[in-house]
Amino acid sequence: MKLQTQWAALGFGLLTLSLAGTVAAQQVKVGNLTGDAAAGKKEYRRYCIGCHGPNGDGTGENAQWIDPKPRDFVAASFKCRSTPTGTLPTSTDLFNAMTRGFVNTNMPSWLPLPAQTRANLVAYIETFSPRWKTQGSGTPITIPAEPAADIQSILRGRATFQKLECWKCHGTTGHGDGPSASTLTDSKDNPIRPFNFSVATRFKCGATNADLYRIFMTGVDGTPMPSFADQLQPNEAWDLVHFLRTLEPLETPEAGIWNAWLPAHEKELQPLGEQGQ
């Protein structure tokens, strides 16, 4: 190659590199994968933009027709986190939320997309708010090993459910019909309903006992569901998880223990709710 062409090629190469640098030169780690924001931007425009909008603030053209509204990535207040309330989730939290989808909403499970695509999307989503750079993700909470469920654990959890006044929103039988339920609004003033345990649906942020633990120990940001991390010790939190499982019409170990115990002991139970105060 002539010298001029060589220099031209070098200059062109440098130009390309610097241009690539201006388009979200950001990478995030999700497990073994490295997501790339520039690649994620293209995929966002195909899969996400209709609801989440070109600016990532949840005002895509579909948003007006759906309820709950799509996540606003600019406000960056996320429901499903492993990190404390008021902090950003980890990249893995976002990846898991995208993969799982959100039951009872218009956010589908994106499991059919290759994992690398999902990782790229996570990287791009993290460019919408400056807080990813200024504050970074929160520190995930520690979830200690779950103790075995037994009737004592369930009864302690029941007492916690009463004391922390969960029934005010979730109702005394977990039907989501507590005294405050009808007036609940999310952080953008849209009406929102508390979780109804009696319909056997998956929780917003997963289906396991650990997912349930994480929900009330990190709060569901952007909704009325607060964090109880300051009020519960880990063993108390596991007791509450065991009790909550008895509210669901599912054949869980906890429900089995509860249903076996109940017929002989029902009369001993203190009522829940206002009568129990």
Binding site: S77, G86, Q135, K168, T223, S227, Q231
Partner: protein, 240 residues
């Protein structure tokens, strides 16, 4: 001796009266911007709050409390307006003493709490019922924490100036504000709608009055060495 005593007494008297005269003619405290926040028109009527869903709070009030989004006083004064000096960087002393916010009788006291950036804030639950404290920040991080009766105070700080609505999801009538400013020159109007910002060095200032329903108004005020004329903020009120 008598003449010396007389001389001393006279000099003292003269000096004393000179000082008195000086004090009488010295201008009032320079470096203060004061005034009032009032409204014209008809403001919306405040409504009584029905706390029947929370008997432990309802019984704390002999007569129902009223909503607080527009609280007015005599002479069309506006209460709960925050008047402050706009400044690009922090003005005045940094605040180290914690501000305090109470949940009492299912109300937020004070209705509007003003903080400086990074000033500690202590939030107390004085009631027999659980509250959740949910400041709806958009510039600062939004968090939501439960606070049962007897729980220790919740500590918070905010790093950026913002007007943050605060609500309790369990008790939907509870509304308040955290106003985070980057200056120590601020005041919250009481029932008389009056404010006074002290200790301002001479210069030109942009003074802003903010009210949760009426919005913001700003005026340019020059502080000289003499008394600054009173600053009047007048909001237009509509009955809805």
């Amino acid at each position: 001796m008598r003449s010396t005593h007389l001389a001393t007494l006279t000099i003292t008297a003269l000096a004393g009266s000179a000082l008195l005269a000086l004090a009488a003619t010295r201008p009032p405290a320079a470096g203060t911007i004061s005034g009032t926040v009032t409204f014209t028109g008809t403001p919306p009527k405040m409504k009584p709050i029905d706390m029947a869903k929370e008997p432990s709070c309802a019984k704390q009030h002999a007569t129902p409390v009223m909503t607080e989004n527009v609280v007015t006083g005599p002479n069309n004064s506006v209460q709960w307006a925050v008047v402050y000096v706009e400044s690009a960087e922090a003005g005045g002393a940094a605040a180290t003493e914690a501000a305090r916010y109470d949940q009492k009788g299912c109300q937020y006291i004070p209705h509007v709490a003003v903080l400086q950036v990074n000033q500690p804030l202590d939030i107390y639950n004085d009631d027999q019922t659980s509250h959740n404290i949910h400041p709806l920040a958009t510039v600062n991080p939004e968090w939501n924490k439960s606070q049962p009766p007897g729980a220790p105070p919740i500590h918070a700080t905010y790093a950026k100036p913002e007007f943050i609505p605060v609500k309790c999801n369990v008790h939907p009538w509870m509304h308040g504000y955290f106003v985070v400013l980057n200056t120590s020159h601020y005041a919250v109007t009481g029932e008389d709608g009056a404010f006074s910002l002290k200790g301002l060095p001479p210069g030109k200032y942009t003074v802003t009055a903010w009210h949760e329903k009426f919005g913001k108004q700003s005026q340019e005020v020059t502080v000289g060495t003499g008394e600054t004329p009173p600053v009047k903020f007048v909001f237009k009120a509509l009955p809805y």
